[in-house]
């Protein structure tokens, strides 16, 4: 009656795929960061599912580290967005071509 591990992996794969498509498809830089959050959550689901499968708490500890990195990423990313908006008054990624060859 328990849910097999592969179901969790499939769910996490779907969420991760959605995140990848969001990063590639959207032009709003805030939505791109939200999609990165989606991908981080997909890996977290994987970690917890494996932690349950192996009866090992280490997987849940790693979710903490992923959470820390996510928080740091959000803080720095949003600060960069605010700085970009101040410089260019847009957050459309098509407008940022300074490093384009």
């Amino acid at each position: 009656m328990t849910v097999p591990l592969s179901y969790y992996l499939m769910l996490s794969g779907i969420v991760f795929l959605t995140g990848v498509i969001g990063v590639l498809l959207r032009r709003n830089i805030i939505i791109i960061l939200l999609s990165v959050e989606l991908m981080l959550n997909a890996t977290n689901i994987n970690f917890v599912a494996f932690s349950r499968h192996f009866h090992d708490v280490a997987g849940q500890v790693f979710v903490f580290f992923a959470l820390t990195v996510a928080a740091a990423e959000v803080a720095v990313g949003l600060a960069i967005i605010v700085a970009l908006y101040r410089a260019k008054s847009t957050i459309n990624v098509d407008e940022f071509q300074l490093l384009k060859w």
Binding site: L11, I31, V63, T68, A71, V76
Partner: protein
């Protein structure tokens, strides 16, 4: 019973993550992400990771998402966001990964992954929070300290990036 809960949570998580990508208004995207965070927390509860479920709600829904909404409302965007011109590339990557996932799930005859050996620590009879704390502050003490350093660097970096130039402020005032 467990499967009913799993399918409910899985369906809402998948639907909400599609909404995050598909919504035009960033605020609606962020609110869809909020729904997704809550349901991921529910999924953690069904996986007997109660402490992580609480942390998920407090940190993700309480801190990270509020920061997103704050920035979205601070920037006060026009509604001209459409999909990127590079959508053929996105479709290519997406279809490739999707086919790969289908092939991998269709491959039968795989044995279950071998049990990890070494530093494995069973949850045992102790509560979930107690078990996590036990492992976090003994086996993973050094990564824990590194994580605190990451947070410090991120804090300093965010402040430096987001603040105005001090010379501008001085010349204005």
């Amino acid at each position: 019973m467990e499967q009913i809960f799993f399918f409910y949570f899985a369906f809402v998580i998948a639907a909400a993550s599609v909404l995050v990508v598909a919504m035009r208004n960033p605020i609606y995207s962020a609110l869809a992400l909020l729904i997704m965070f809550f349901h991921v927390a529910g999924l953690y509860v069904t996986l007997h990771a109660e402490f992580l479920a609480a942390v998920q709600i407090i940190v993700y829904a309480g801190a990270i998402l509020v920061l997103y909404l704050f920035v979205v409302m601070l920037l006060n965007l026009r509604q001209d966001d459409r999909y990127h011109r590079q959508w053929p590339m996105a479709a290519g990557v997406g279809v490739t990964l999707f086919i790969e996932a289908i092939i991998l799930t269709a491959m039968k005859g795989w044995t279950a992954p071998v049990m990890a050996t070494g530093t494995e620590t069973t949850a045992g009879e102790a509560g979930n929070t107690e078990a996590i704390g036990d492992v976090l502050y003994s086996t993973y003490l050094f990564p824990f300290e590194v994580a605190s350093l990451i947070l410090l660097v991120a804090m300093i970096g965010a402040i430096i990036l987001a603040k105005k130039d001090l010379s501008d402020v001085n010349s204005e005032g």
